[in-house]
Symmetry: C2
Subunit: 502 residues, 2 copies
């Protein structure tokens, strides 16, 4: 089980250290102070003295109690947090995490088996109404996968924007030119190191969001009528873009945890003129799957061998609990076949509408379209973003955001496990705010959706995430936006409605 | 002469009033106070007591001197300004305008005679380097037609942006959805009344600038390979967009003052499958021509009769000296065949990167592409723009901007008239910051450009503004950016270089 690896590693390290100490191979004093403290806490968790959900002492209290510096306690807590023994909840402190993955009893969805031929995309307009608009005010919506105002730091963003506007006011009245302000492109190149990439600022193009970057990539590498491979199920907006650009979609079987099947993709490449692959290797939308590292390396190699353009959507990478899965396919790309698209809309400020792309060997083609059409973005906002990304507190903010998301995901999975009918399957993503749920066969999905709408609950039906009406038994449950007890209550009620909809 | 009309009307009114007073048909007291004051000043200008270029007394001094309220003097000055008897220079006061159009001795360029068949566009990359990038710092550039920081009010824009970010900070951390914030769309609908249009806020789509709006329009109304008619010469960026969208350009003969020839367009419509016309009816770039009102009405009618999509670029309308030429073709459009594109980049804040479009009968198609791809813009900036456009001071700011531009245009035309070789022709636009200059045949244009570059002066060659390398003897002189004595000096030097390049 992937989810337990980090915990196990940490635990083994501590056990080995304890054993070494107990058997006289080393003295406790030889261990770093923070490991000693972490070890004590781990022991307390192991014995049940600190049960799952228990609140840990505050950093200040713990430091006083142990007679160490507060920074040592912070280090111990972060180490335990990395090992998923404890989790931070913003403005509340640290809590013991559940050692068992939440909702363990529920099986994961089955591997998808889409048709093996490309299809023109014809969007379900009902879907666009659900996902493309704000839901009515009286509707309890599960359509968003974007952190809400309760998870994001609006003040930090506001300060950066106001500062940039005050200090660089002349930029508001000057036409920006080129690929984006140099300050932001340098900040992004530094940031990309966390995604495993060493990028030149000159090859980075600032766009009006991640989707804008993806559209630019597809326009740079395809012509109308071309075949683009996708995960199955795939992001609704990807299908929209393919329809808009008159591209054909070829859906590839996808594992609910390990992502797109590269064997199936290989078969497709061998038999059909696939121009590009549009893929979200980390926390794919809607399935929440993340490709293992070895698969990422293999995909980069395949792209190079087949001249395939891999448009990599890395928007969720920072929301992933596991460091290794934050690394991009792009980081293995030696030949420039991977086009990396990213934005901070899911982690920092959805309203800034800035994204960026490094388009590898297609950089000149992409720059041409960019400069001819969409052009440069608002320089003042670019400076604000550069400031935000470069701030020392960014890594900590991300850590806190991941902690809060993990807690929310766990709560939702627990609720589903205990209230949806037997036979329900639900995805088990390593982060993010989306769950993919498969209703048992005997549930009449249409009746279920009608019942939900009748009670003012909105949850996007699975068939929006595929061409040709597949995934009729599925739902995408978005835990984004502001979360409340009413949402948990609504999830429970949905489970009851599913049980009734036979 | 168009340019003299307003002056003449005002003068006739004053003469008639004087005559009526002198002949006892009415007493001076029957005239409004501000007309009495204006009349005195006009008389002083007519007799030469106040020669062209003379500074008028300040509003305060004049009010004291005449024993009237300052607002009455302001009214009198604005009336004279509208009649082009005097001109405001920002932060300097009011000056007597030249009654004769500046640089009167110089003839205007000839009517263009482009080829009568459509052409695929193949951009001159040298051109993109000139116009798409910031010029080197040591280069004196005449490539911009956008007002610089000396003409725009950065403080006003900064205040609006900071206020919006402070008051609506949550918008920075919320995904915007839809066609743009309602507040901005309502403000734009009110603003559009000044363009002669009565638009519904719901049909307005906010875009990432005017060019983004134009791209969306062309994508909504055409398919790759379609024919799009254009003025000749036309905006360099229009050609770029056509190339990027794989559309064919059909250039239509264009009069240097009255704009595109509708007779020629009619012929094109009768003989070729023209899908759209992309046109800038007011202060067309680069020619500076403006279609007379009757022609605008006729164009709207033609569009309706032929099912032609007219993509109207109204970005310069507010820079035009004449009220009647600020009215759009869209204002005559009863059948939704005109797609109106606009932004405030030339009048308010080039750096905001916001524009808008009302796409008539193509609104649903355009909204589809917009929501599928480019999507909503930064809501905080939208609110700032809504605020700026709605401010009571906006009309006054525009009046001042036009005054300053008129003065700069006149200075440049005078310099050209007195320093370029005989036989040089130059456009006579009713506003804006672009001049189109035609060198005499005997001047070797290539040698001239090389000589300019050798002396670090950059001026875009005419062949960038057409397919097929026409307009080799022409230059587009952009008076945008920050203007200085060095620019005037450079213009003089250019004239000398032209005289030398035989």
């Amino acid at each position: 089980m992937r989810r337990c690896t980090a915990w196990h590693v940490l635990h083994l390290y501590c056990l080995a250290a304890s054993w070494a100490v107990q058997n006289g191979f080393m003295s406790v004093e030889n261990l770093p102070l923070y490991v000693q403290i972490a070890n004590q806490l781990l022991e307390a968790v192991r014995t049940g003295a600190l049960p799952a959900g228990a609140k840990l002492p505050s950093v200040r209290a713990m430091a006083r109690q142990q007679g160490v510096a507060q920074s040592t306690v912070v280090q111990a807590y972060h180490w335990l947090e990395d090992g998923q023994v404890i989790a931070a909840r913003p403005r509340s402190g640290f809590f013991v995490a559940s050692r068992n993955p939440s909702g363990r009893g529920v099986p994961e969805p089955t591997v998808s088996r889409p048709a093996q031929r490309p299809r023109a995309v014809a969007i379900d307009w009902w879907g666009q109404r659900i996902l493309g608009q704000d839901p009515p005010a009286d509707m309890l919506s599960f359509s968003s996968g974007t952190p809400g105002l309760d998870l994001l730091n609006t003040d930090r963003v506001r300060r950066a924007v106001v500062q940039a506007a005050q200090r660089q006011r002349h930029l508001l009245c000057t036409y920006p030119v080129g690929q984006g302000s140099e300050e932001l492109r340098c900040a992004l190149a530094r940031y990309a190191l966390a995604l495993g990439c060493s990028l030149a600022p000159n090859n980075i193009v600032v766009t009006g969001g991640c989707m804008d970057a993806i559209v630019l990539c597809l326009r740079a590498v395809t012509q109308p009528g071309d075949i683009v491979a996708l995960e199955s199920p795939t992001h609704f907006s990807f299908l929209e873009v393919l329809q808009s650009l008159q591209l054909r979609a070829l859906e590839i079987p996808t594992h609910p945890r390990h992502g797109i099947s590269l064997d199936a993709l290989q078969l497709a490449l061998d038999t059909q003129p696939v121009k590009a692959l549009l893929v979200t290797p980390t926390l794919s939308n809607p399935l929440g799957c993340s490709m293992p590292q070895a698969e990422r390396r293999r995909l980069a190699k395949m792209a190079s061998e087949h001249g395939l353009a891999v448009v990599e959507d890395a928007i969720y990478n920072e929301l992933c609990e596991f460091d290794d899965l934050r690394r991009t396919v792009k980081s293995y790309d030696a030949t420039g076949h991977v086009l990396l698209c990213h934005s901070f809309a899911k982690t920092l400020a959805p309203g800034l509408r800035l994204g960026w792309v490094e388009a590898g060997r297609w950089t000149p083609a992409l720059c041409r379209i960019h400069s001819m059409e969409s052009g440069a973005k608002t320089a003042v906002l670019e400076l604000a973003l550069a400031q935000l990304v470069s701030q020392a507190g960014h890594a900590l903010a991300m850590r806190q955001l991941r902690g809060a998301i993990t807690a929310r995901l766990a709560e939702a999975r627990e609720t589903i496990a205990s209230h949806f009918p037997k036979g329900t399957r639900v995805s088990h993503p390593a982060g993010g705010l989306l769950l993919w749920l498969e209703l048992p066969r005997q549930v009449d999905a249409k009746r279920f959706h009608e019942a939900c709408l009748a009670e003012n609950m909105l949850v996007p039906p699975g068939r929006l995430f595929s061409t040709g009406g597949r995934f009729g038994q599925c739902l995408r449950i978005g835990l984004g936006g502001e979360w409340s007890a009413a949402h948990v209550q609504a999830l429970r009620r949905m489970g009851e409605l599913a049980a009734l909809a036979h």
